[in-house]
């Protein structure tokens, strides 16, 4: 329980403790001998009960009792009374154990197990729960159990909602009660036949939680609930396709070496793998159900059936905002390919669904064309014989990229696909919340209030302009984050990440703005005039996170050097990416580079002067990666032939990232990890590697 000082142990307590442990030990050995002998007699059960009443955490004893119950129930046949008495005895033992420690997982679990057998009456359970929740209203064990019991009892959601409301009214600093409320409401909203509208429920909840937030803005429990509400508000609409590659109306020309041209000129001089010509769909929220039946691709050069749609998400989940399918163009003679119209249709039938159960209901049509082109010189060979020079600023030339450049025209096509959403009740709700919290911040200096206001403003901008072409409030949001970084140093990294995302959005919100960061690369000495590569240079902007990838699906050449990036989450959407510069950032581990794994076109990578290897274990990641969790497309052979003295165990994170990439050039110098051993390891696992840290291999 909360706010109780711990007492110093008294000498007589330690004596009692010794006596208790002595007793426990003898009980334990007695119990184990019964357990090993599969003895389920009355005496044996009593021993285990005694043991559990003293120490409810003994899960072996709980499991023993489960075995015993099953054994005894089989023994006594079909007499319902004796079966019931066996289970009643279990409930009694659990009750006594909970008396000892009402936060024992084993005891609660055992109770659930007994009740799920269906031989016991449920009437007592709610009474029991009332007692526990009176003792400690935030006891999440009791709340968990409550959900279990009420589901079994079929107690109505309304009753339970009323109950949580009462609990919250008694003390609104009750995370567990708010949490329970969010679970109940989610359930209630899914039962669509009740005729409850999201609008009514959400606005009622906003009013409810607002009372708590205004009464005590420093109490966080209500704010968490508010965050959940905001999430529901954002996701209360059908999912929306934000952008795609190739974009609607694009006319692409692909040369036999894999270079992509727009109608008016070369889009980027970097070749892609023709076996994996990507099609990318980028939604505004996570969706599931993208497959060849829900997405219909009409094309002559490849058939719909051959396309396999895959989610691009860090974990093996079946929902994602980004979906990709690869077409195999390698068998087609591109030099003579006449323009092919390709139609992609989705949303014509149900199946694409958001996590809140909304279907993509507006049909979307994407039409583009692909044509082939004959190229005299083989630039592929040329480039592969020439090292990339990242650092030389003279290699970039911005003058040539104006409104008439091919890339600008391509971007225009993307932009025109979306019109601003006019209005909607969810925008009104968020607007109202924004007004309330602006008021609150005039009278209270409240960090979490500022954060919430920033989130609300971002959410509102996103609702009005899904592709974030108009960022009406970005300056206000950035101000809020600046303020927060200053006033709340412990969380400044988080605020920095959030403000980086907003900053980036703002920087590339419009085509004109984005063009300012596009350069043509002149680094190849042998390059010919028109064959320049378009490079997006977002370097030296103090970014700690990058986002807004929906606008950057076309990017092949990305320079993010001299920022403060520690993560490149979301970069996996840039399927065309072939050159990536992450020099001089704050990337601390190979696991932070995991998005690269799905960038099959990546040839050139610079991760020099980062912090990889500075921490032996990557503690910043939420999920601890292990070889086993990557069973996916990596073949993990323990007996991989490695150079002497190099152990796979030390580098398995790197192995996972680089194994399936065909990197040609890589820079890794300036990282703690980059010693000779590691270099030899890298060379070993990347057979295509020609340059490592500027040195020519082979």
């Amino acid at each position: 329980m909360h706010g109780r000082p711990r007492k110093a142990p008294k000498p007589e307590d330690s004596a009692a403790l010794a006596a208790k442990s002595q007793k426990l030990r003898s009980l334990q050995s007695q119990f184990l001998s019964f357990h090993h002998g599969c003895t389920y007699s009355k005496e044996a059960l009593e021993t285990s009960a005694k043991l559990l009443e003293i120490n409810p955490e003994n899960y072996t004893a709980w499991n023993y009792r489960k075995l015993a119950v099953e054994h005894n129930v089989n023994e006594c046949g079909t007499d319902p009374d004796s079966i019931k008495s066996i289970f009643d005895e279990e409930l009694r033992v659990v009750e006594n154990a909970l008396r000892q420690n009402f936060k024992s997982y084993g005891a609660w679990h055992h109770r659930k197990w007994v009740l799920s057998k269906g031989h016991s009456s449920m009437n007592r359970e709610l009474m029991l729960l009332d007692v526990f929740q009176k003792l400690d209203s935030r006891n999440f064990h009791a709340w968990n159990y409550r959900r279990f019991v009420t589901t079994l009892m079929n107690r109505s959601l309304e009753d339970e909602l009323k109950y949580t409301e009462n609990m919250i009214e008694i003390n609104f600093s009750n995370y567990s009660a708010w949490h329970n409320r969010s679970i109940l409401l989610s359930k209630q909203l899914k039962e669509k036949d009740k005729g409850l509208s999201f609008q009514d429920v959400l606005s009622k909840e906003y009013n409810f939680v607002r009372d708590a937030l205004f009464t005590d803005p420093d109490d966080q429990s209500g704010w968490f609930y508010h965050l959940w509400l905001l999430e529901q508000t954002i996701q209360c609409e059908a999912p929306l396709l934000l952008s795609s590659w190739p974009a609607n109306g694009a006319d692409l020309i692909i040369s036999g070496n894999g270079c992509i041209h727009a109608a008016t000129g070369l889009l980027s001089g970097l070749p892609i793998d023709l076996k994996r010509f990507p099609m990318i769909l980028y939604f505004n929220q996570s969706v599931e159900g993208i497959d060849s039946s829900t997405v219909n691709v009409e094309a002559e050069i490849y058939s719909n059936k051959d396309l396999t749609w895959k989610p691009l998400s860090p974990r093996n989940s079946c929902t994602s905002r980004v979906w990709v399918a690869y077409a195999d163009l390698s068998g087609i003679d591109l030099s003579s390919l006449s323009p092919q119209r390709i139609r992609v249709r989705l949303g014509h039938c149900a199946g694409i669904m958001s996590s809140n159960g909304f279907h993509l209901n507006k049909p979307v049509n994407i039409e583009y064309s692909i044509a082939g082109k004959y190229i005299e010189i083989e630039p592929t060979e040329r480039q592969e014989n020439e090292i990339f020079s990242w650092t030389d600023d003279d290699s970039y030339n911005s003058g040539e990229l104006d409104e008439s450049s091919p890339i600008a025209l391509y971007m225009q096509a993307v932009e025109d696909n979306h019109e601003a959403a006019a209005s909607g009740w969810h925008i009104d709700i968020v607007t109202e919340e924004i007004n309330h919290f602006r008021d609150l911040l005039t009278i209270a200096d409240c960090k979490i209030g500022k954060l919430t206001l920033a989130r609300l403003l971002i959410a509102r901008d996103g609702m009005i302009s899904p592709l974030r072409n108009k960022m009406a409030h970005s300056e206000e949001v950035l101000d809020l984050y600046r303020d927060l970084i200053k006033s709340d140093p412990p969380h400044s990294k988080f605020y920095k990440d959030q403000s980086s995302l907003v900053l980036l959005q703002q920087l590339i919100s419009s085509r004109e703005a984005l063009l300012k960061y596009c350069f043509s690369y002149k680094g190849f000495k042998s390059s010919q005039s028109v064959d320049s590569q378009v490079c997006l240079r977002l370097n030296n902007l103090l970014l700690s996170r990058v986002g807004s990838f929906e606008k950057l699906l076309w990017v092949q050449f990305l320079d993010l050097s001299d920022n403060e990036l520690h993560s490149i989450e979301g970069l996996e959407a840039l399927q065309l990416l072939s050159c990536l510069n992450l020099r001089n950032n704050k990337i601390a581990s190979f696991s932070a580079l995991e998005p690269l794994r799905s960038l099959k076109s990546l040839r050139v990578l610079n991760i020099s002067y980062n912090e990889i290897g500075s921490h032996p274990v990557d503690t910043r990641r939420y999920l601890f990666t292990s070889p086993i969790s990557h069973s996916g497309d990596i073949s993990w052979k323990r007996d991989e032939d490695l150079p002497d003295g190099v152990s796979m165990e030390n580098y398995w994170e790197a192995f996972i990232v680089f194994k399936n990439l065909d990197l040609v050039q890589m820079d890794i110098a300036g990282n703690p990890v980059a010693d000779e051993k590691f270099q030899s390891f890298l060379v070993k696992i990347s057979p295509a590697l020609k340059w490592l840290d500027g040195q020519t291999l082979h």
């Binding site: 109780r4 009214e169 003390n171 205004f214 609150l440």
Partner: protein, 834 residues
């Protein structure tokens, strides 16, 4: 006459106190605790004087007699003997009744406070005093469920007095909620000893008027009103510096808020900050009187004092002359405020004891009492309403407070409610105006509430809301110290804090070397020591430190009490309450508790006796308490004298049932004897003055005297034979009556505090005699008896307690003897019973 007023022996006391109001009782209790010999007299037939709780008839009679002066009745021919006069404390008494027959029918079920409305804050000085004096054993409390304040014209809003109340409130805007909570936090920070100076209110601000400070930190008028009048309970208009003589400073305001907030949640069973003593506030002085009686203060009621003896040389007070003609002497005299200190008495050292709220000597308080037929608010029976200045009429300069109490507080019959109103005023007409305005405002809001509830009950609306009404103006008198000391009158505050302060000052003037509060009897370990773990938990929880005290009971008990119009006295030293579950008929039990007789402790007691105690009372206290009787139908006729035999029912605790211990005649005799004494007013008068025994007896208010007649002597002899404990060691007979549904929580009879053990010795055993039969229920239960596993405190709520443990079924004539001590003189915890 002589029979009604038996001779009092001895005739010399350290202190004589006249009047049994709260300040007088406190002084008497404190002085007797300090070892002084005290005589406490009251001319009235009831305890409490101007703090009493009375029936409507008695109240009318008392008000009318106290609203006219009584000149000295003693012929003033002897210069050494000066007649004692009284001045009227009350004026403008108006009593009206719209349904006299209803009131008449239930007259005895009301107990109306003379000095209402008054409540206790859970953390205030009065509660501390109650706990420190150990008077909590005689008292039960009921929580005030809600308080309301009138903010907009006529509209009542619940006072948002806590974090969750602010959250729930529907009347405050979001910004107001924030402001109010922020202010609460500010106060909390200011009071937090761990906070450094920056979080505190500056010294300079602390001296400014509270209202100004609230404005300075940006609070709106509405929030200011809520804070000043409904939480800090200010009386005067705080925003009008010209008119209000008494402006609350920030320091005081914050202190009052601190009191309020530390009151919230002090006792787990009181939801809000305020509690009210069940059976009326008259219970409070009476409880202190009982405490004093335990400390050998002598009580005589219905004993007017006709004159004072004055030293002819220096004019100093010497003694009193009673109406019985007896002369008694003491160096000091304390008078209640209605008595006039004769001018002949040398008043050289007389000095008023100032209480802050009574700067204006001419101030009066207008009080009103209404009996209503419906609650102001649906579903809430005990509530407080505050009309801040100017909310009733523009001329209103003081806050008017209205306290509603329902039958759950055992002050009125079910279905009716009491309203107490008070307003401080400078003259009577102003006071009356305020009271009447408040009464009509209350009526209006009651009607609107009811209309909101159900719109089509016109028939109900026809009936008058107020059945009975009394309004009167009371003078505010300050306490004065001198060779004759006057206590202060009841003030206009909602609580007793200022009165407690003034009384403490008076006491210190009287006895500069004595502590006003005797050393606390170690609280908290009186009840639950049977379970070591629960005890440690309690000690770590500051909220529970004071233990199981003020006990909030269910409403049932109160109703049953009021039914017969019998005032009820709570049993002395019954610790403490539990479940005596009788579900059908009535049970009478006689409780006989034996005092401690083991030599070692007795020796200690002798050593610790103050000198001069040889003339004092005997070792043992004789307590006998009649706990109310009513009709005792349902007695089984056919039981005749049958064989007597003993049956041992348990060894842990040692419990023996002696079957057919009493004959049917004896049972009936005991009931008959007890019946006339059930009235509170009749309690003392037949018995007082009988020297030693009376001291103890008075502490109960009603009792059966030891050795009262032949039959009782026989019974006591038989008890002594049965228990092998001499008659002298018995406490006396205590007749208890339990109605259907009444119960007592399991308790111990033995003492755990040093205080009581020293005083009367430890209790060894209890003999329960059942005087009537019941159809079902009514058992005495020993939940701790061996063989029954005892439940932890929280587990209790789950189990069907009544059926647990060893229980004894009442049967008329049977006696149950159980020992609170083991044979080796250690306390037997298995003797927990209920």
């Amino acid at each position: 006459m002589t029979e009604a007023h038996p001779q009092i022996d001895p005739t010399n006391f350290d202190l004589i106190v006249l009047g049994t109001g709260l300040p007088e009782s406190l002084i008497a209790a404190a002085a007797s605790s300090a070892g002084k010999s005290v005589l406490h007299l009251d001319p009235n037939p009831f305890y409490g004087s101007h703090f009493a709780s009375l029936s409507p008839d008695d109240l009318s009679a008392f008000l009318s007699s106290s609203s006219s002066p009584h000149p000295p009745s003693f012929p003033g021919d002897d210069p050494a003997t000066v007649g004692l006069a009284t001045l009227p404390l009350y004026s403008d008494v108006q009593i009206s009744s719209s349904s006299p027959e209803v009131i008449e029918e239930h007259c005895r079920k009301f107990s109306l406070d003379l000095a209402g409305p008054k409540v206790l804050f859970c953390a205030d000085k009065a509660v501390d005093a109650i706990l420190k004096f150990g008077t909590n054993h005689y008292l039960e409390f009921k929580a005030i469920d809600a308080s309301y304040i009138c903010i907009e014209k006529g509209k009542l809003m619940k006072v948002p007095d806590s974090r969750s109340a602010i959250f729930k409130d529907k009347n405050l805007s979001l910004m107001e909620k924030n402001q109010l909570m922020k202010f609460f936090k500010l106060v909390q920070q200011h009071l937090d000893p761990d906070e450094d100076g920056s979080a505190k209110v500056s010294e300079e601000d602390l001296e400014t008027p509270f209202s100004e400070f609230l404005g300075k930190i940006g609070l709106q008028q509405k929030i200011k009103s809520i804070i000043m009048y409904s939480i800090a309970m200010a009386d005067q208009n705080q925003d009008n510096v010209d008119i209000s003589e008494d402006i609350l400073r920030t320091k005081d305001g914050i202190d009052r808020l601190a009191l309020f907030h530390s009151s919230m949640g002090r006792f787990p069973n009181a939801s809000g900050a305020l509690i009210y003593p069940s059976y009326g506030q008259g219970e409070l002085p009476q409880a202190f009187c009982r405490r004093a009686a335990v400390k050998r203060c002598l009580y005589v009621l219905r004993m007017p004092v006709v004159a004072l003896h004055i030293d002819q040389d220096d004019g100093q007070y010497r003694g009193i002359k009673l109406a019985s003609g007896q002369d008694l002497f003491s160096p000091r005299l304390v008078l209640d405020p209605s008595f006039v200190v004769p001018s002949q008495v040398g008043s050289s050292v007389e000095e008023p004891v100032k209480i802050r709220s009574q700067k204006d000597a001419e101030a009066k308080v207008a009080r009103g009492i209404c009996i209503t037929r419906a609650s102001l608010m649906p579903d809430v029976s005990n509530l407080l309403v505050i009309y801040p200045p100017r909310s009733l009429c523009p001329e209103q300069d003081t806050a008017v407070r209205v306290l509603q109490l329902g039958s759950t507080s055992a002050v009125c019959p079910p279905g009716m409610f009491l309203l107490y109103l008070s307003a401080i005023c400078s003259d009577s007409s102003q006071g009356k105006t305020l009271l009447n305005a408040a009464i009509s405002a209350v009526e209006v809001s009651q009607i609107s509430e009811r209309n909101a509830m159900n719109k089509n009950e016109d028939a109900e609306v026809e009936k008058p809301f107020i059945l009975w009404k009394a309004t009167y103006i009371q003078k505010l008198c300050m306490g004065k110290y001198g060779s004759i000391t006057s206590t202060p009158s009841s003030d206009g505050n909602l609580n007793y804090n200022d009165l407690m302060d003034a009384t403490e000052k008076l006491f210190h003037s009287l006895y500069p070397d004595e502590a006003f509060f005797p050393e606390a009897t170690s609280p908290g370990n009186t009840e639950d020591d049977d379970d070591g773990t629960s005890d440690t938990v309690q000690r770590t929880l500051p909220l529970r430190k004071e233990g199981a005290l003020p006990e909030i009971l269910d409403g049932k008990l109160g109703q049953a009490q009021a039914e017969e119009g019998l005032a009820m006295a709570k049993p002395k030293n019954l610790r403490y309450l539990g479940r005596k579950a009788s579900s059908s008929t009535l049970v009478f039990t006689v409780l006989l508790v034996f005092s401690f007789a083991v030599l070692i402790l007795l020796a200690i007691w002798i050593l610790s006796m103050p000198s001069g105690s040889s003339s004092g009372p005997k070792v043992h206290d004789l307590t006998s308490i009649v706990r109310k009787t009513s009709d005792w139908t349902g007695d089984d006729e056919g039981r005749s004298e049958s064989e007597q035999w003993a049956e041992v029912i348990s060894w842990e605790p040692r419990a023996i049932v002696y079957h057919n211990f009493l004959s049917k005649n004896e049972c009936e005799h005991l009931i008959k004897l007890a019946t006339p004494h059930m009235r509170k007013s009749a309690v003392v008068d037949s018995a007082t003055g009988k020297r030693k025994d009376s001291r103890v007896r008075t502490s109960s208010g009603t009792f059966l005297a030891r050795g009262l007649d032949k039959m009782i002597q026989d019974i006591e002899k038989r008890i002594a034979d049965f228990t092998f404990i001499p008659v002298e060691n018995g406490e006396g007979l205590q007749v208890l009556h339990y109605e259907v549904g009444q119960k007592y929580e399991p308790h111990f009879d033995y003492f755990l505090d040093e205080y009581n053990t020293k005083n009367g010795g430890q209790r060894m055993a209890t003999l329960l005699m059942y005087l009537s039969d019941v159809e079902e229920g009514g058992e005495t239960v020993f939940p701790n008896a061996k063989g029954n596993f005892s439940d932890g405190p929280w587990w209790d709520e789950l189990s069907d307690c009544g059926k647990k443990g060893l229980s004894v079924k009442p049967k008329r004539g049977d006696a149950l003897l159980f020992w609170s001590m083991r044979p080796d003189a250690t306390l037997d915890q298995s003797s927990l019973h209920g």
